[in-house]
């Protein structure tokens, strides 16, 4: 599996090629003289910069909120609870998919099939209910199993057979896109979808769409898993150095495969929520969800725990992008402004995190 790990490892830490093998990597004694000297310097400067780094995205987010609340073109309609509910509701699926994307990324693996997995799960759920007359609960369970199996397939290919995760999951994504076309015949599934599900997708609880609570619940669980279990800590260790992880007794293949399975299950949940929100399942490839999710995950890796993919940062990333886009829309900016902004924000975030990583002596 070593080849796949190294070739796809860029993802392990957002601080670019900070991983193993860089010529000036740590541990070589010659650099130590200076280093040892630096270790003794007062930590205040270090901490301040760390603090700024950790919270930069959050501060930026607040800045954007203030900006659009004050801007005459948007102030009237932007800072309203209705607008907030709309933003949260529409971005819930992106946020959840971003969380799914983070799981394999933590240990250094891409999963580009998660968007297609979500789309396929949504279509499958709709199809099971409308064509097979299954109950909502059974359809959901079948979907979650389906999503997990897709994840398992990816995980086994990537770990057991050592295939490159980038290419493998791209292949699986394309394959799933084709299967969606076959299953739906290119038609949108409109009828037979459980009204309970559609109701759930449209109600607000305490002024916030119900689906948002699902996202928060999953986020809480994943946050716990990634930061507060030996499993999550092991995933980060694999991301930092897969060979060393293996030698401290971490069963890397199993753990990585499990992260793909978990991500697949979350993606299936995204499909179900998407179905609940829209009330119909279109023959879509799911990529329109995947790219904003990827962007949010990478943005998130610049915050909270800079240099590492993390749950809270990812949520902030989603909010940052969606609130800005909403603000631009409310301020009636032209349609091309949003994608340009998204792209620029992502480049700036990745650039900034790489730069800060270097300044800290990580990737230099």
């Amino acid at each position: 599996m070593s080849t796949s790990v190294t070739s796809s490892r860029g993802a392990g830490t957002a601080g670019a090629a900070a991983g193993s093998g860089t010529p000036e990597s740590p541990g070589t004694a010659p650099t130590t003289g200076g280093r040892a000297g630096k270790a003794g310097r007062p930590r205040r400067g270090h901490d301040l910069r760390g603090l700024a780094e950790k919270n930069a995205l959050l501060v930026l987010l607040l800045g954007v909120v203030v900006f659009f609340s004050v801007l005459p073109a948007s102030s009237e309609r932007f800072a309203t609870s209705e607008n907030l509910a709309v933003i949260l509701g529409t971005q819930a699926t992106v946020a959840l998919l971003a969380l799914a994307v983070v799981l394999p990324l933590v240990s250094g693996y891409f999963d580009f099939s998660l968007g297609a997995n979500a789309a396929a799960s949504g279509v499958l759920a709709a199809g099971l209910m409308s064509k097979e007359d299954m109950s909502l609960a059974v359809a959901c369970v079948v979907c979650l199993v389906f999503g997990s199996l897709v994840g398992l397939f990816n995980g086994v290919l990537v770990t057991r057979f050592g295939l490159n995760s980038f290419v493998t999951t791209l292949g699986v994504a394309t394959l799933l896109g084709g299967l969606i076309q076959w299953y739906t015949g290119g038609q949108t599934i409109l009828v037979g979808i459980s009204p309970a599900l559609v109701d759930f997708g449209s109600i607000n609880v305490y002024g916030v769409p119900a689906v948002v609570y699902v996202v928060l619940l999953v986020a809480l669980v994943l946050w716990y898993v990634l930061t507060h279990t030996p499993y999550g800590r092991s995933l980060y260790a694999i991301g930092a150095n897969p060979r060393a992880a293996k030698l401290v007794g971490i069963r890397t293949d199993r753990y990585v495969t499990a992260s793909f399975v978990l991500a697949g299950a979350v993606a299936a949940l995204v499909g179900i929520l998407q179905l609940a929100r829209t009330g119909s399942a279109t023959a879509d490839s799911g990529n329109s969800l995947l790219f904003p999710a990827l962007a949010a995950a990478f943005l998130g890796a610049t915050a909270v725990r800079p240099g590492f993919f993390n749950v809270v940062g990812t949520l902030i990333g989603v909010l940052f992008v969606s609130i800005t886009v909403s603000g631009l829309t409310v301020a009636s900016a032209a349609a091309w402004v949003s994608p340009v902004f998204n792209g620029a924000a992502l480049l700036a975030a990745v650039g900034l995190s790489t730069y800060l990583g270097r300044a800290r002596g990580r990737a230099s």
Binding site: T32, G33, G37, G249, R362
Partner: protein
């Protein structure tokens, strides 16, 4: 100082000072290199020798000091990389900066530029001729079109040296080598040092940094010792001056009297009584072709042998990284099926420190705390999640008990020096209280003081009844640390040395003679 005139001096540095924030890395250090000699720059981690080299190279701007290189006077404060190159200083770092897949010629050309025709197409023939001449001059037995990856380690270093000196081989050039032998096995570093010695005899001025005292003593004429940013000793060699002893040099490096032989005394030779902790019988797999050996609790057993003899493979097989293809393996009284993986062996009480610290031990971007607890993650887990407070406290205790110098356990592991990283890696394993400890090149690229700490730690573990297996290419290490040493040759145990036989010379003889017999056998 000696009576040498200034014309004999290639480099004279005085009062070199450099601070990083409030830390003084260099505090008025001085250095004098005589032309045509090998000069060793010594000092523990953090003594300022790396900083001195970086200031000389113009990588870090110095704060103050005076500098004379080949008669050119300059202020340290304004010294730049261009000035260093212009004055004839040439640097070869531990990481050689060679591209393994490219040919020697291409590697040389990437530094000096390709000779080109009009229209920028490369004149390959001219390049090859130039490189062939360079290889000849530096006595490297290789062809220009050969990929660097196919060379022996010592040859690679020589290619890097030749590349650095290609445009300036006029006797004025000063070659600075930063730990040239740190990652080389013993016989390779011997070859390299011999080559360096020959360059010096031809008039080349060389300054080298090395942690391996034996080598430094064998090759260097003069010595400068740094301690806390100051040069505390200048030892100028000559025909009428006795070379310093290792104990003398280490005493300068530590600033206190240091008994180099202290490491040798053994509290008591452990009894090979009761049940063996490790029984290996006719073990096959990879390069192993029937290894048999036993080790008892409290014993430190060395494993010597040339590269490819199965030295490392024996350890990884016992640890469960590789499955044996045949033979008997009994670990701590339990017969192994051979299908156990690393985790299963760890549960049985086995621990392993890889020879490749950067590649296989360090989580460079994770904190020291996370590196220390990587082997015991589960023990900090409860229903409320990871007990980070307990984890931090235990990490701080480990840092103290293993004498790891670190600003904070929350700093990135990469910010630690090599010696401190290694001590932390050893600590990571010893906190599991293993009953069988496998160490592969435990002090490679580690400074003398850290080495002493690591030896003390290993001995303490053995005294507690842990069985230790040490694979090393450093014969001095094996003879210092081990109770007995088995010599592997072609995947089988060739001989075993104990007691008075256990000296670096005997070990050299034992491994080298196995080369001779191996040659006959084929």
């Amino acid at each position: 100082m000696s009576t040498s005139t200034s014309a004999d001096l290639a480099v004279v540095v005085t009062g070199m000072t450099k601070s990083f924030g409030p830390t003084r890395a260099l505090d008025g250090a001085g250095l004098t290199l005589r032309r045509g000699t090998v000069h060793a720059l010594l000092g523990g981690n953090g003594s300022g020798k790396s900083t001195a080299i970086k200031v000389l190279a113009g990588v870090h701007p110095g704060d103050a000091g005076h500098l004379v290189v080949n008669g050119r006077e300059a202020d340290v404060a304004g010294w730049s990389a261009a000035d260093a190159a212009e004055a004839g200083l040439r640097f070869v770092h531990q990481d050689l900066g060679l591209f393994e897949q490219l040919s020697i010629a291409e590697n040389v050309a990437l530094a000096a530029g390709y000779p080109t025709r009009v229209g920028r197409s490369v004149r390959w023939k001219e390049l090859r001729a130039h490189v062939a001449e360079l290889l000849e001059r530096f006595e490297i037995d290789a062809r220009p079109e050969q990929p660097v990856g196919s060379l022996r380690p010592a040859q690679r270093t020589m290619v890097a040296i030749a590349r650095a000196l290609q445009d300036r081989d006029d006797g004025e050039a000063v070659l600075v080598l930063d730990e040239p032998t740190a990652t080389l096995p013993a016989h390779e570093s011997e070859a390299l040092l011999a080559a360096i010695r020959r360059r010096a005899d031809l008039g080349q001025t060389v300054m080298m940094v090395s942690h391996r005292m034996q080598e430094v003593l064998a090759v260097a004429d003069d010595f400068t010792v740094f301690l806390d940013g100051r040069s505390v000793a200048h030892l100028v060699g000559g025909t009428d001056v006795a070379a310093p002893t290792e104990a003398e040099l280490v005493a300068h490096m530590t600033g206190r009297a240091f008994d180099g032989e202290a490491g040798r005394e053994r509290v008591a030779v452990p009894q090979q009584a009761g049940e063996a902790a490790l029984v290996v019988d006719d073990l096959h797999g990879g390069p192993l072709r029937g290894v048999s050996l036993s080790a008892w609790p409290g014993e430190i057993v060395g494993v010597a042998g040339l590269v490819g003899s199965g030295r490392s493979a024996l350890l990884t097989t016992i640890f469960g990284v590789h499955r044996p293809s045949g033979g008997v393996l009994r670990v701590l009284g339990r017969e192994q099926t051979g299908r156990e993986d690393v985790k299963a062996r760890m549960r049985q009480g086995v621990a392993y420190v890889s020879e490749d610290r950067v590649g296989e031990s360090a989580f460079a971007n994770l904190s020291l705390r996370e590196n220390l607890s990587a082997s015991v993650l589960r023990s900090f887990w409860g229903w409320r999640g990871m007990a980070t407070t307990a984890e931090r406290r235990s990490a701080e205790e480990l840092v103290v008990s293993h004498a790891v110098k670190a600003g904070s356990v929350d700093h990135d592991f990469a910010t630690l020096s090599g010696g401190n990283q290694q001590k932390a890696v050893v600590g990571r394993w010893l906190r599991r209280a293993p009953r069988l400890l496998l160490l592969d090149e435990p002090t490679q690229g580690v400074d003398v003081m850290s080495r002493v700490d690591i030896y003390a730690t290993v001995r303490a573990a053995a005294a507690d009844g842990c069985t230790v297996l040490v694979a090393s290419s450093d014969f001095f290490e094996l003879s210092t640390l081990c109770d007995r040493v088995v010599v592997l040759r072609d995947g089988v145990v060739d001989s075993e040395l104990t007691g008075d036989e256990l000296t670096p010379d005997h070990l050299t003889a034992a491994t080298q003679s196995s080369v001779l017999t191996a040659g006959d056998a084929r």
